[in-house]
């Protein structure tokens, strides 16, 4: 037995958050009264994970960073004599497995890891506690930090995973801590959201597991590799009707759609989306942000693992993806139009944007995967800014900050924040000055056009228009206080003072402001120079 080659440097994006978990635990033992420390450590670890992903991004489209690679002779092929005829054998051979790795991070995966790390850092900043001495029995802060970090780890790992085992474990690692995070918020609303998230995620994961098992059954390979898909897709020798697809192809497609459905819950695709508004509205802005950004990155990364394996089959696309995409973006936009709670609006906006994210995947090709990744990251950048603005407002005026009325006339009170919000919303809507949103929409459109899905393109175009209405509905009172919905008095930002001396809130306000500024800068940079984002994926 030769050793399994483990390259620690390649693994760093996953190892740094795990190390962060340890540091948080140790630090909590040593200095338990510093409430901000766990978040600081966790934020640094997230940024570290993002930084560790940069070499993979910088390496360009062609190169893939691998580790945990198998080598021939590492495993012993099953011994003994078998009574099977050649046509019935598992088409995936040990020889094929010899070239596999359990960690494969290409440019696409590394870019998603980078985005996840940065987004998680922003979420941690938003979750920054009020700098007040913590009661002795409270363990909330370190646990929250640990949950954020482990969920980030799961996301990072799933983007680079290649085998069924790692993939399933990492997915669950990315999901379970988030459920706990939502429940930790502790209010009745949060519990309602957590319960809905919990049952949806459990059922989805079970179906996902069935999908993964079907893949294994169809290909005989525990790896999501194009080789395996090709081997399964081959028409068995001796079959007369060579034109007909092998039965395995149907099995593969069932496996893909089950996985799609299982991940659809994380992505908030439409029939699997019901938890989204409840959970977002029930949890704190930081957790909602995490659900809206890092979770989505994890889900898309997991989906892309399977899609890139299938891309070897040369299938033009899937009707199921098209239908999901169309339904999702339509319902998301329609429902978002009716929300007055901005967190709910963002939740439904997430639903609508998820439709856009999987839109390019109607083409199971490298182009489609790249487009989906680009679109997701544009969405994540814009959503981070929007949530940071919401968090800042909630921090300032309390729960009223969730109502749209709280944003009336923001332009007059706080032009910078209003500008940031405007940039984020226009990016989500795909209007200038949010150029990157427009670029993302065009990028997402391209595979649809290339593959000739006319009706889908029409639906998407209609939804682009609808989406503009959704976001401008929020933006209008921001810029024009006289058009704010009547019946709610203008919010006076004095409420923050009641919570105590303003110095107590200073740490939290500073953290939120830093997160807001950083995310705005990123969004601005990619808006001015979209090539920065497109370049991540080696286009």
């Amino acid at each position: 037995m030769t050793g399994l080659a483990i390259d620690v440097v390649t693994l760093l994006p996953a190892l740094i958050p795990l190390a962060g978990v340890l540091v948080v635990l140790v630090a909590d033992l040593v200095v338990p009264r510093l409430r901000g420390l766990p978040y600081a450590v966790a934020a640094v670890a997230s940024l570290g994970a993002a930084g560790a992903a940069i070499p993979g991004v910088a390496a360009g489209a062609g190169t893939v960073r691998t580790t945990f690679c198998l080598s021939a002779g590492w495993f012993s092929p099953g011994g003994g004599s078998f009574s099977y005829t050649p046509g019935e054998a598992s088409p995936y051979t040990s020889a094929m497995a010899a070239s596999e790795c359990l960690w494969r991070a290409g440019a696409l995966g590394s870019s998603l890891q980078l985005g996840a790390g940065l987004a998680a850092a922003v979420c941690l900043a938003l979750a920054w506690p009020v700098a007040r001495a913590r009661p002795a029995e409270s363990t909330r802060e370190p646990i929250e930090a640990i949950l954020f970090l482990t969920a980030l780890t799961g996301t990072v790992v799933v983007a680079a995973s290649r085998d069924i085992g790692t993939w399933l474990v990492a997915l669950e690692l990315a999901t379970l801590p988030v459920i706990a995070l939502v429940a930790l918020t502790g209010t009745r609303a949060a519990l309602a959201g957590a319960m809905q998230l919990l049952v949806t995620s459990l059922v989805s994961f079970a179906l996902l597991a069935v999908g993964a098992a079907l893949w294994f059954l169809a290909t005989g390979a525990p790896f999501f590799s194009p080789d395996a898909a090709l081997a399964a897709g081959q028409v068995p020798a001796g079959t007369v009707a060579a034109a007909a697809p092998a039965p395995s192809v149907a099995l593969l497609s069932l496996s893909l759609v089950l996985v799609l459905a299982g991940l659809g819950f994380k992505l908030s695709l439409v029939p699997f989306h019901a938890w989204t508004p409840t959970a977002y509205a029930g949890s704190t802005p930081a957790v909602a942000t995490f659900l809206a950004t890092v979770s989505k990155i994890g889900a898309l990364a997991a989906l892309l693992v399977l899609v890139q394996a299938l891309s070897g089959l040369g299938t033009p696309g899937l009707l199921a993806v098209a239908v999901l995409s169309a339904v999702t973006m339509t319902l998301g936009n329609v429902m978002a139009l009716r929300q007055d709670d901005v967190v709910r609006l963002l939740a439904w906006s997430t639903v609508a944007q998820a439709g856009w994210v999987i839109l390019p995947l109607v083409s199971i090709s490298a182009l489609g995967q790249r487009s989906a990744g680009i679109y997701l990251l544009t969405y994540v950048a814009a959503t981070l800014v929007a949530f940071a603005v919401v968090a800042r407002t909630v921090q300032e005026v309390g729960a009223r900050g969730r109502g749209m009325a709280a944003y009336a006339g923001l332009w007059l009170r706080s032009p910078w924040r209003a500008g940031a919000l405007a940039l984020a919303l226009t990016s989500l809507a795909g209007l200038p000055p949010g150029v990157i949103g427009l670029v993302g929409k065009i990028v997402a459109f391209r595979p649809v056009i290339v593959e000739g899905w006319v009706w889908l393109a029409l639906v998407a175009a209609g939804n682009a228009v609808l989406g503009v209405a959704v976001y401008l509905r929020w933006l209008r009172p921001v810029l024009n206080p006289s058009e704010a919905e009547t019946g709610s008095a203008p919010v006076e930002p004095a409420a923050a003072g009641q919570a105590g001396p303003s110095a107590v809130l200073a740490g939290r306000r500073l953290a939120i402001t830093v997160a807001l500024v950083a995310s705005v800068l990123v969004l601005l940079a990619v808006s001015i120079q979209p090539q920065l984002l497109l370049g991540l994926f080696g286009t």
């Binding site: 495993f75 399933l168 379970l176 069935v210 729960a399 969730r402």
Partner: protein
């Protein structure tokens, strides 16, 4: 010698039963039972596929073990949430979880992340049945 169609058929049946159980039950714990059935269907499929010759890396068994462990992790979180929900709502009926966030948000605290604010806690406890 065993024909693989039997385990596959059993897995299909278990999956269907699990799906039925997930939807037809209103008690959250019983929904968990349905979920376990679906997971076991997946496990059975994995084991079946892993029992075929030339299945590399003992993958069928290993991944099955992983899924079992994942299920255990899931259950622990799920039970915690269910217990908390039972304490706060007095029931675990999935068809009757009210949507509490509609209309006025529940967050009346001055700082929603500050869970230790006694006034906020008092306000919450009052609203409890």
């Amino acid at each position: 010698m065993i024909h693989l169609q039997w385990p596959v058929m059993l897995a299909a049946v278990l999956a269907g039963l699990g799906v039925y159980g997930v939807i037809a039950r209103r008690n959250a714990v019983l929904v968990l039972i349905g979920v376990e059935l679906i997971l076991n269907a997946a496990n059975l499929l994995l084991v079946t596929a892993g029992s075929r010759p030339d299945a590399p890396l003992a993958a069928g068994s290993v991944v099955t073990l992983f899924v079992v462990t994942i299920a255990a992790a899931e259950i622990s979180i799920a039970l915690a949430v269910i217990l908390v929900m039972f304490r706060r709502f007095g029931h675990i009926d999935l068809t009757a979880v009210p949507d509490l966030t509609k209309g006025a948000p529940e967050h009346t605290e001055r700082d929603p992340t500050d869970r230790t604010d006694p006034a906020a806690l008092a306000a919450e406890e009052v609203s409890e049945p």
